[in-house]
């Protein structure tokens, strides 16, 4: 494997004395789509937020391309399961993402147009973002994460509250993003989608990594009991 993009060393996260995550030791490859699987409460969201840098671990190190996560937050995008939007137009929301990353004003319009195309939201560009449907909102959120051309994006169950058609549209965008070379790390419950998208898989159970490996092998191999229980819906 070429140099890993993300490295976690002995990372733990503790809330009121309870160790919710860790100690984790993990590396992820620098290209492709990594799907994070696991039952609710396993620590997937926590892991994503720690990896992004919006949360700080109580112990251990998180490194992106060798640099501490907290220092390089600007180069990563994040998509929540449901994203708040600014009370402005769709276009303004995208422009906001660029402004937040202090992207130079001159090139912004072009980047926004590009993002609108990728999200297939051109016709709604001037409408209030609050008027978008659930699926369109998530496409907007993904477009916002992508508009500044980040090194990596992290998604926390982005399609969980969408209907199948919207979910597929979102998937297409995710694949497009990965095709441009952006590292994608996505937590999901949708095993079918994971099968379709993932290049490699990490399974979290009870705050620890229960399994990790290339997707092709993962979906055909035998699993330890805990992982199997999850996959078959017994957890």
């Amino acid at each position: 494997m070429s140099a890993p993009i993300l490295t976690l060393r002995n990372v733990s996260y503790i809330v009121r004395g309870a160790r919710l995550l860790g100690p984790l030791n993990l590396t992820l490859s620098s290209t492709g789509i990594t799907c994070i699987l696991g039952p609710n409460g396993a620590g997937k969201s926590l892991f994503l937020q720690l990896a992004h840098g919006m949360l700080n671990p109580d112990s251990g190190q998180i490194l992106w391309d060798g640099a501490p996560a907290a220092q390089t937050r600007q180069s990563r995008g994040f998509v929540f399961q449901s994203t708040p939007v600014l009370r402005r137009s769709v276009r303004a929301n995208l422009a906001f993402s660029l402004a937040a990353r202090l992207s130079p004003r001159k090139g912004r319009a072009a980047l926004v147009d590009q993002a609108l195309n990728a999200a297939r939201l051109q016709s709604q560009a001037q409408q209030p973002a609050a008027a978008l449907s659930g699926g369109e909102r998530q496409r907007l959120a993904l477009a916002q994460a992508m508009v500044a051309q980040p090194r990596a994006i992290l998604l926390d169950e982005p399609g969980a509250s969408l209907d199948p058609a919207s979910r597929r549209a979102l998937e297409d965008m995710v694949r497009q993003a990965a095709d441009t070379g952006t590292k994608v790390i996505m937590a999901t419950h949708d095993l079918a989608a994971a099968r379709r998208l993932a290049d490699d898989v990490v399974v979290f159970v009870n705050g620890a990594v229960a399994a990790q490996g290339p997707a092709a092998e993962f979906f055909t191999a035998e699993h330890p009991a805990a992982v199997a229980d999850y996959m078959e819906g017994r957890l």
């Binding site: 919006m54 994203t83 600014l86 422009a95 402004a99 937040a100």
Partner: protein, 233 residues
């Protein structure tokens, strides 16, 4: 009925006394709103968006002070500005400046508390977004304030309403001096105390009309402002 006709006749006929009284009322109250906004709006926004020691106490205090009786504020400012008081050497008593000071203090709690109330829900919605995009605090504040602008405008209108309608504070610190510190409300109080009730009532309606016009103007501005929805980010 006669008095009503008299009052409106004075209004339309540009009776100089009445118009100078109206002019002073507007000058004093609008100035108070301006200064109280410069202090109170950022304060309210900070209370809505940051955590710091004493924040809860400040919120409680600003809420409680919304109910300050104007006459009490006037008394306090009089004691401050009186020659026998600490700021007496400024010589502000019985001038419009003293009235502006009193009204500013009176409406500062309202503007602070209502700005906070307008900004807090917007900020709550946005904080996840700001975290995810790693937005600098100043930019976050600016964006939040702009998107909360209608609520903030309501706060300012509430402050103006309280200022233009109060009589207790300006009476004491202004002295209701004819041609110098006499405003609409003190004129109404004076006419009432002289027993000219109808005239007082008619003047009261003029005051309400004024307040209505100002409210309409603000709302109109708001409509125009809607076109400029996307502030420079």
């Amino acid at each position: 009925m006669d008095a009503m006709a008299t009052a409106f006749g004075m209004l339309i006929g540009f009776d100089p006394t009445l118009w100078s009284v109206i002019g002073l009322s507007l000058r004093v109250s609008l100035s108070a709103v301006l200064i109280a906004t410069l202090i109170g709006a950022p304060l309210g926004a900070i209370l809505a968006t940051r955590r710091f020691v004493g924040r809860q106490a400040l919120i409680v205090v600003s809420g409680a002070f919304m109910a300050l009786p104007p006459v009490v504020v006037g008394l306090a400012v009089y004691l401050l500005l009186s020659r026998a008081g600490p700021l007496g050497s400024l010589g502000l008593l019985f001038t419009p400046s003293a009235m502006i000071v009193a009204q500013t203090l009176l409406i500062l709690p309202i503007i602070t508390a209502l700005t906070r109330q307008a900004v807090a829900p917007v900020y709550r919605d946005y904080s996840g977004l700001f975290k995810a995009h790693d937005v600098a605090p100043m930019m976050a504040l600016r964006i939040t304030l702009w998107d909360a602008r209608f609520g903030v405008a309501t706060a300012l209108l509430a402050g103006f309403g309280r200022a233009i309608s109060e009589v207790g504070a300006v009476q004491i610190v202004g002295g209701n001096i004819a041609g110098v510190t006499r405003v609409m409300t003190t004129t109404i109080a004076l006419e009432t105390s002289k027993g000219n009730l109808e005239l007082a009532l008619a003047l009261g309606m003029v005051l309400i009309l004024l307040a209505l016009l100002i409210n309409l103007a603000i709302i109109g501005l708001g409509r125009i402002g809607q076109r400029f929805e996307e502030a420079r980010l």
